[in-house]
């Protein structure tokens, strides 16, 4: 199994430009998370989806960040316009309650954003 797939792995943009990250979760995983990880910090939740519904987006800066999960599978996280402080790693993770509700999150390799 391929695991959680994220793209792009690396992105360098100038401030005020838009950027989008894509995530393909493990097949059958209905819960999808986007986390932000700043240098030297732990992952911080941005948004969590149960199927196509965003059930926790309280930490998502909605003035510039948006996310969608069409058909409850792939997800896209967008930033427009990007600011210098958005430079970080954006992690996608998925989980499935069918695995006995173990609570385990499966992470992608992350998308590293650098805003110049």
């Amino acid at each position: 199994e391929a695991g959680v797939v994220q793209s792009p792995r690396y992105k360098i943009i100038e401030k005020k430009q838009p950027v989008a990250f894509w995530c393909n979760p493990i097949s059958g995983h209905n819960t999808l998370y986007w986390y932000l990880q700043n240098l030297g910090q732990g992952p911080e939740l941005l948004i969590r989806y149960e199927n196509e519904e965003a059930v926790d987006d309280s930490q998502l800066p909605k003035d510039r960040f948006s996310a969608e999960r069409l058909k409850g599978v792939d997800s896209t996280l967008k930033i427009q316009p990007a600011e210098l402080g958005d430079s970080a790693v954006y992690l996608c993770a998925s989980s499935s309650p069918r695995q006995g509700n173990t609570g385990e999150l499966f992470f992608g390799e992350g998308s590293r954003l650098t805003v110049l």
Binding site: P43, L45, L105
Partner: protein, 110 residues
């Protein structure tokens, strides 16, 4: 609100020495606690969870509700244990929010 605290950013030990990575949590209820590990150039992955009471790669962790702690321990450190370790908490209440600590870098010196 749920919070996870890992007081040490870096822990250096010699090979063969015991290891204890500290984790304290704040949660008004019965949480589920996890340790995740990230080896160099690899993705973040689950190491162990308190509910399983398992030992993985020689590591164990006991949930102490009185002290609200979930410290990770290993009696004899190996060089391959060098990695970033994150403590995580999942609360109950109808949803599965998972909160991570800031992480501790374990450096095992040969």
């Amino acid at each position: 609100a749920q919070r996870v605290t890992q007081p040490e950013k870096l822990l250096s030990v010699f090979k063969g020495a015991p290891v204890e990575l500290k984790c304290n949590y704040s949660y008004s209820g019965s949480p589920e606690l996890f340790w995740y590990v990230q080896y160099s150039r690899q993705r973040l992955q689950l190491l162990l969870r308190h509910i399983s009471r398992e030992s993985i790669k020689g590591f164990t962790a006991d949930l102490n509700k009185g002290e609200t702690s979930f410290h990770l321990k290993k009696p004899f450190a190996q060089e391959e244990d060098s990695a970033m370790y994150y403590c995580a908490l999942r609360g109950f209440g109808g949803y599965q929010k998972v909160t991570f600590g800031t992480g501790t870098k374990l450096q095992v010196i040969p």
